[in-house]
């Protein structure tokens, strides 16, 4: 193959050199800057899933030296924000290693996929799944997902960060998060905080009246429940059971009035359905939805704040430490009020 390259043209070598130089100036310099920013911890975590909290959690797990745990907490923001690691550890045997792998905006299907990664890396003895009603809700549009083997390698530290950074490089994404990430990494006064404690929990420092009004007044809507998510719950229970581990499935407390009377029967049916799924696999639902905590302990309709999370976590710690479940399925009417 020969190309009609005349002598008056720019020589092929010069043409290539000029094109390469242009590309390098445009890509190379910003790329070097981003690599530097990442190494300094000033860049949002590589977008393994596109869910910032999940990605930041993956980075947190990668940077944590300990790659083993005894008690693994999983779930969405229900697990992330409702658990206070320190309070929970008080009621677990000394030396117990706790890891909270919860991240906000996680659907149950995503938690199931993440659980498989975490079980492969951390080999815990007990798994605590903190899951609220809203985790079962339908979401519009396709669910964001991640490559499980990539996440395992990333958490394990087996993959170098430069290729990961390159693979998930998205200029718009990094620029968009450049300032916000520094803010939410250093404050727990933001609902989207990613300021993890040593075990990966984030009890939020948000109390009434300095709350987001929309979140505060939200109500549970059982019509939004997605039947497919129950299958994912069953899949989580099967996965834990097949490994001979214990699963503790917990419904955390809910703010009074967040379950309208009109839907309480449907909500009870939801918990009964969860209980049936878990019971057939030898597990139980520990329902603390009606714990009776006052509004001071909440930062919105379903998340506890840094006053409520320790109280709930102590109970979870005690229950995890005990052998059997203390409380079977409760309903909105019959739960014990503390």
């Amino acid at each position: 193959m020969s190309i009609g390259w005349s002598k008056s043209d720019l020589s092929p070598r010069r043409y290539l050199a000029l094109a390469a130089l242009t590309a390098f100036v445009i890509v190379g310099i910003p790329a070097s800057f981003f690599c530097w920013a990442y190494s300094q911890g000033r860049l949002v975590a590589p977008a393994l899933s596109g869910n910032v909290c999940f990605d930041e959690k993956a980075r947190f797990l990668r940077n944590s030296p300990n790659k083993q745990c005894d008690v693994l907490v999983i779930g969405s923001s229900m697990a992330l924000n409702n658990i206070d690691s320190e309070a929970m550890l008080k009621h677990l045997p000394p030396g117990t290693r706790l890891l909270n792998a919860g991240a906000y905006n996680m659907k149950i299907s995503q938690t199931r996929a993440l659980l498989d990664c975490l079980l492969a890396v951390y080999r815990p003895r007990n798994v605590i799944f903190v899951c609220g009603l809203m985790d079962f809700n339908k979401t519009p549009g396709p669910t964001q997902f991640f490559d499980a083997s990539e996440v395992i390698h990333f958490i394990n530290g087996r993959s170098a960060w430069v290729p990961i950074l390159l693979r998930h490089f998205d200029l718009q994404y990094y620029v968009k998060w450049s300032f916000r990430i520094l803010q939410i990494r250093s404050s727990r006064r933001d609902y989207f905080s990613v300021m993890f404690d040593a075990c990966g929990s984030i009890p939020l420092e948000i109390s009434f009246p300095k709350v987001d009004e929309r979140r505060w007044n939200l109500k549970v809507d059982p019509e939004q429940l997605d039947p497919a998510e129950y299958e994912e719950l069953a899949s989580i229970a099967d996965s834990v059971r097949s490994r001979g581990l214990t699963l503790i499935c917990i419904q955390p407390p809910m703010k009074r009035g967040s379950v309208p009377m009109a839907v309480s029967a449907a909500v009870d049916e939801h918990w009964s359905r969860m209980e049936r799924i878990l019971a057939t696999r030898g597990f139980h639902l520990w329902n603390h939805s009606a714990m009776g905590l006052s509004d001071d302990y909440f930062c919105d309709y379903s998340h506890l704040n840094n006053k409520g999370a320790p109280i709930f976590s102590e109970i979870v710690g005690r229950e995890a430490n005990s052998e059997g479940p203390k409380e079977r399925v409760a309903s909105t009417q019959t739960s014990r009020i503390h």
Partner: protein
């Protein structure tokens, strides 16, 4: 491995070029092309290593069958025909098992309401492409159109990574004479032209196709979930998909040509501004040209083509298009898409016969009408091509027909308030983002009014059998074009964060 990944562009491609140069300089031409065969196997293995054995087995079988035909058996005799039938049947059986077994079993089970079931079979990457390439080779051997090739040449012809995964479906007489004439040395002018075409293709895929993709996906996934799109959203979604598949396939085809060019091999043209077509016949001469050619030469003509009367001709056309649809995917929506295009072709041929010799039929206004009708027909076809189920496609078509209601953004209300009562529209939020409309405003004029890559690059003809170019913008090796190439490459590299597959990889 995908062409639009950092792994390919920053690691695989540079290493392959270095290996090609070193082997060419130190060991000669055979070693240089041998290195490309090895690199192609690595390229394929990166997807799923065990499946390399399948490709190798397929190559050994077809090369062996070809040799058998060549040397031992009398050309076009009974024995030769039997060997050809056996070779083609084995290839089709392999394709049928991997690609259609699940589809067949599911269809039968559904039709008979039985619980017949087989485990899902993983579809080996590119099986449709390397199978078709080799079937064409066997038929050509049988017809005496093939001189004897070495095993290495044959491996290169089937495996060369630019066309391996998603075409073009190459013919031996296009590729192998170039290998035989080559000196196995990398030339800087080839490298410069190849990289320029590669950069253009990468830009189309990463910036244009991936940029509009999310908007198409949103509308179609909403329709799949049962949310009926209104008029604007349905048209927006279908136009977005039309742009996505256009730039996706165009980008891939450019990249294949550019990569071939780097190593001194011109690939056949596979994509030539199909939306500029003024008839469906013309569309199929411009869209996936190598597949159209394969279907014409090895299916339509073998079925009798147009030699056995009008009825037989139309039947052959329909069968060819139905099978072409099925080739794209094991699903009824693909069959419907093929059938729809078959019907379009019948109408097109019938119209051609009816208006033959009439001057008004070729007038300028009529050409514009033909162009619009062709594009709309293609869009309707894309609805079935993209929709996962028949009901989703129907839902989209209803939306396009306005049967799901017509909405206008509330911003228009103040301008149209006097006529609001008379207009069959509602003023409400449209399920199609404003930014997507902006994308369409950029992409559609680019498709219809800009020259394509091959026209721009006409001066150096990076592809085989290029038509004359009347393009106002022609590439030349100037500093300005070098800067533009670097810029396109850089923007594409920066946008390449999320690696997305080429749509034709799944076929």
């Amino acid at each position: 491995m995908l062409f639009n990944s950092y792994e390919f562009l920053l690691l695989f491609l540079p290493l392959t070029i270095v290996l090609f140069i070193v082997c060419g300089r130190l060991l000669g031409k055979r070693a240089a092309f041998g290195s490309l065969v090895v690199a192609s196997l690595v390229f394929y293995a990166r997807w799923n290593p065990p499946y390399v054995l399948l490709v190798i087995a397929s190559i050994l079988f077809n090369y062996g069958t070809g040799c058998l035909q060549h040397g031992i058996i009398q050309r076009r005799g009974k024995a030769s025909r039997a060997v050809l039938a056996f070779g083609v049947a084995t290839n089709l059986a392999l394709l049928g098992y991997f690609k259609y077994a699940n589809f067949f079993v599911d269809t039968v089970a559904r039709a008979t309401a039985s619980s017949w079931h087989i485990e899902p079979i993983v579809l080996p990457l590119a099986i449709s492409f390397f199978t078709f390439t080799q079937i064409a080779y066997l038929v050509d051997v049988w017809e005496g159109m093939v001189c004897s090739y070495s095993f290495l040449d044959y491996c290169f012809f089937v495996l060369f990574f630019p066309h391996l995964i998603a075409g073009p479906i190459v013919r031996h007489h296009e590729i192998l004479p170039q290998v035989q004439e080559s000196d196995g040395r990398l030339k800087f002018d080839n490298l410069a032209v190849g990289l320029t075409v590669l950069a253009m293709g990468l830009f189309k895929k990463v910036v244009f196709a991936d940029g509009i993709a999310e908007h198409a996906t949103y509308v179609f996934s909403q329709a799949t979930a049962g949310v009926a799109p209104d008029f604007a959203a349905a048209w927006g979604g279908v136009l977005a998909y039309a742009c996505q598949i256009y730039f996706d396939f165009s980008g891939y085809s450019d990249m294949a040509i550019g990569l071939g060019c780097i190593f001194g091999v011109r690939m056949p043209l596979n994509f030539n501004s199909p939306y500029k077509a003024r008839s469906i016949i013309d569309f199929w001469r411009r869209w996936h040209m190598s597949l159209s050619r394969f279907l014409r030469d090895y299916l339509y003509i073998r079925l009798g083509g147009n030699r056995k009367g009008v009825t037989r001709r139309y039947t052959n056309l329909m069968v060819t298009m139905l099978l072409g649809g099925l080739w794209h995917g094991a699903g009824w929506t693909f069959v419907i898409w093929g059938g729809l295009h078959g019907m379009y072709l019948l109408v097109n041929h019938a119209w051609g016969k009816l208006t033959n010799g009439q001057r008004w039929a070729g007038s300028r206004p009529m050409l514009v009408v033909y162009h619009i009708i062709t594009f709309i027909a293609v869009l309707v076809g894309w609805v079935f091509f993209r929709a996962k189920t028949f009901s989703t496609a129907v839902c989209m078509l209803k939306g396009m027909a306005g049967l799901n209601g017509i909405r206008l953004s509330p911003g228009f209300e103040k301008f149209l308030s006097h006529w609001a009562a008379w207009l069959p529209v509602r003023f409400a939020h449209i399920d199609f983002e404003f930014v997507a409309f902006l994308w369409l405003l950029i992409l559609l004029p680019t498709i219809f009014f800009m020259p394509n890559t091959q026209e721009i690059m006409y001066r150096v003809r990076p592809a085989l059998k290029q038509a004359e170019s009347m393009a106002a913008v022609l590439w030349r090796p100037s500093p300005r074009w070098a800067l533009l190439t670097g810029l396109a490459l850089a923007i594409a590299l920066l946008k390449m964060g999320r690696v997305t597959e080429f749509l034709y990889f799944q076929f």
